[in-house]
């Protein structure tokens, strides 16, 4: 079986969520299939500047083909186009121009798929909202398996993605919430789909005391791992935590791990450790009283799964459907919607050790049952087998004609998104 994986960036040092997801999948499916990655020469997602040389490459033994990006992303142009399609009536051409502006526009990559995409039995396309996934799905619709990694953002309300969600062979969802959202947005329940998610490279053993000693973390601490960004809910987290810490003399420390985009408040109870390697990260996570996930939008929180894998409870933002759903389904995390709840939840996790241990055990079980690699691999392989044994039951819709693409008849994407149902999905297996 030959498997093509198409992703916007690819590299051992690229740690974006979807990119890491793609790399893990490529490496874990390599024993079962001949895997080849098709990607761009970009390293940075804000500009898509060509930094890797085009041509053949290899990452951790996986063959990679890199294609140049035609033009870098202009923030101003992308911002204007985003504002137009998200908040005004617009045409399909406007959406296509938005996609071109968002990038990474790599016609060479799409040409490669169009001309020789048939060499692959299946083509996994990561990140539905990007150029390569949209045009890649149109290039090889009968082989395309989409891994949307979609969050609840306005791009999901764009009309151009509907035919893609309805036309690919199958969709590998990250969470039941994502599946429900895409079903509602694109009316595609006929497309084969399975909630898979992603595992992680969990070390065989962790030493919680080691990192604590190395970084001088005395006393209990809660940890945040990820980009320290207002978009990830960190500003709210700082606000809630400072209010909490100022009201309690024996408050825990908030340990931050990751690259800061947002200014970190100067507070005696907030420690920034910077970017840690995996060993330190997992040790630090294992030693924490809880992992805090303040993000509002996630398609799947890998960090939360990693915390659960090492038996650490999670405190999640209740406004994120996916996180809330994960907490409810796993019974391994508490959640907050305001400062009072944040404080109360933190108090409970810190004070009730039996509860924290129970949450941690549930988390570990949840991870092993649904997100361990054998489970993930099996779901992918089952899907490949199912698609190989059944002919395509549906076709990709064609692009509308020249005039239809220019009619400003499409509603603002933000308005479309607002009308989609929200909330956690309960009563499912994962």
């Amino acid at each position: 079986m030959k498997l093509g994986i198409v992703v916007q960036r690819y590299g051992a040092d690229i740690n974006g969520g979807a990119e890491l997801h793609a790399r893990y999948i490529a490496e874990h499916l390599a024993p079962y299939a001949e895997v080849r990655v098709l990607t761009t020469c970009a390293r940075e997602y804000l500009t898509w500047r060509n930094e890797f040389p085009p041509g053949a490459d290899s990452v951790n033994g996986i063959p990679v083909e890199r294609f140049p990006v035609e033009h870098e992303r202009s923030e101003a142009d992308f911002g204007l186009r985003s504002d137009h399609v998200f908040s005004r009536r617009h045409s399909l051409n406007d959406e296509l121009a938005w996609l071109e502006s968002e990038g990474p526009a790599s016609p060479a990559l799409i040409d490669r798929l169009q001309k020789s995409g048939h060499e692959f039995d299946h083509v996994l396309l990561f990140c539905a909202r990007y150029y390569h996934a949209y045009h890649g799905a149109r290039a090889v619709p009968d082989r395309a398996i989409l891994v949307p990694t979609a969050e609840r953002d306005a791009a999901l309300g764009l009309a151009m993605f509907g035919p893609i969600f309805r036309g690919v062979r199958a969709i590998m969802y990250n969470s039941p919430e994502e599946q429900a959202l895409i079903h509602a947005a694109a009316a595609n329940p006929h497309v084969p789909g399975v909630v898979v998610g992603i595992g992680s490279e969990i070390p065989g053993s962790v030493d919680p005391g080691r990192t604590a000693a190395a970084f001088g973390l005395a006393g209990p601490y809660v940890i945040y791992v990820g980009r320290i960004d207002a978009n990830k809910g960190c500003a709210e987290l700082f606000d809630f935590f400072i209010r909490y810490a100022d009201a309690r003399p024996a408050a825990p420390t908030l340990v931050l791990v990751g690259k800061p985009v947002l200014a970190i408040p100067d507070h005696p109870r907030i420690r920034h450790l910077g970017f840690l390697d995996d060993r330190d990260k997992f040790d630090a996570m294992a030693g924490a009283a809880a992992l805090v996930m303040p993000s509002y939008y996630e398609s799947l929180s890998m960090v939360a799964l990693e915390a659960w894998a090492v038996g650490t409870p999670v405190i999640a933002n209740a406004r994120c459907d996916v996180l809330l759903g994960q907490c409810l389904r796993s019974n391994a995390g508490l959640y907050y919607a305001n400062a009072a709840e944040f404080g109360a939840v933190l108090d409970m996790v810190l004070d009730d050790r039996a509860l924290a241990a129970g949450l941690g055990r549930n988390g570990r079980r949840f991870y092993e049952q649904h997100y361990s690699w054998p489970v993930i691999e099996r779901k992918y392989l089952d899907m490949f087998a199912s698609l190989s044994s059944n002919p395509p039951a549906h076709r990709m819709e064609k692009l509308p004609g020249w005039l239809a693409r220019r009619q400003s008849s499409l509603r603002p994407a933000a308005q479309v998104l607002d009308e989609l149902p929200s909330g956690p999905v309960v009563g499912v297996l994962a």
């Binding site: 908040s87 005004r88 039941p176 599946q179 429900a180 509602a184 329940p189 006929h190 497309v191 084969p192 789909g193 399975v194 909630v195 209740a318 406004r319 907490c327 409810l328 019974n331 391994a332 995390g333 508490l334 959640y335 919607a337 305001n338 009072a340 709840e341 109360a344 939840v345 409970m348 009730d352 039996a354 509860l355 241990a357 129970g358 949450l359 055990r361 549930n362 079980r365 779901k379 089952d382 899907m383 199912s386 603002p412 009308e419 989609l420 149902p421 929200s422 909330g423 956690p424 999905v425 309960v426 009563g427 499912v428 297996l429 994962a430």
Partner: protein, 380 residues
Amino acid sequence: MDHNQGRRGHFHRGGRRGPDRRGPERRQVPGPGPAPDQASRGERNDRVDVEQIMREIRARIAQRSGVDLSNQQIHELAARRLEAILDPRGLKPELLDQLRRAAGERTVPVDAAPSAAQSYPFDEATLYDSPNGFLRFLRKLFNPLLRLLFNPTPVAHALAQQSRLNTELLQREADRDRRQAEWNALHYEILQRLALEVSRVSVDSQSLSMRVESLGTKVDFNERRVRTMEGTQARPSRPQESPQAAPQAAAPPSVPTSEAAPQPSAEGQPAGEPSRRRRRRRRGRRGPGAGVPAEAGVNAPAAAASVVDLDEGDGEGDEGFEEEAAAEPAAVPGGPEGPPLRSEPVALDHQLPAATEHREEPAAAPEPIRTEEPPHTPEE
């Protein structure tokens, strides 16, 4: 085809996003059955029910703050306040509706370009134009004759100029209207947000003031509790007025070791002396509304009952109690003549002045203090 086997329907709800967006079906109220508390939670460990815990937490927060308004409720409150600000008697109802509509829309729909009727294009040929082709031909034919009689060019030029001016003016006016509408929408939006924030802040301040009040009550309660405990331990009981006291004092061997009477101090000071010192200290901390009446020293149950009364009100009784206690140092519990002083907690449940005042911290409920009777000996 869905590969998720064993899946049940989910609970997606449309409408607003927020903490309550799961809808009332998912926001269950704790049932009448016994709510699992933290103590039992330790036992069930893996059977942790996150939803139940969150319900408990939210119930506790609601109980503590007294004000637990959802975002939706705050928005409704803000809308009511805004209605009060935008008094319809001072504003045109149409204007108000227009403002509301404009604030709800991202762009303000104002006709930016003047209509064709408002701007009439005019040039030299317009004078001779006609929808009728024959007439147009005749006019063109006789145009040289007309030009012989007078010069129509300045007239056409003036009219064309006027037409252009009209168009520009209309365009400018439309722009002004659009800007004004945008400003109006912006002002309304700001006003709306201000009202929302004011509502939120007022709810917060109400919540905080309740919290301050609650904390004040708690401090007051603790203060009174300390005084009560000190008063109880220091209070003498007269053997002649306490029929059970004498047999107790006469049978010291039956008292458990841990409850043995305190030994005299190294200086040979009687055991009642420290309690006198404690009373002196207490005098300095005495505040209004606390104290024990003079009658409190008569017998223990009466003292306990009177503490309740005095905790509610005046503080002058404390001094009376101290005076009487000072006059009877020999009757101090634990002293040679008094009943042995108990080191174990003494029940004071019936003395709690206001149980509801202390709901905020159930774990910190006062230790039970027993004052009714001295310990019973096996002979009894």
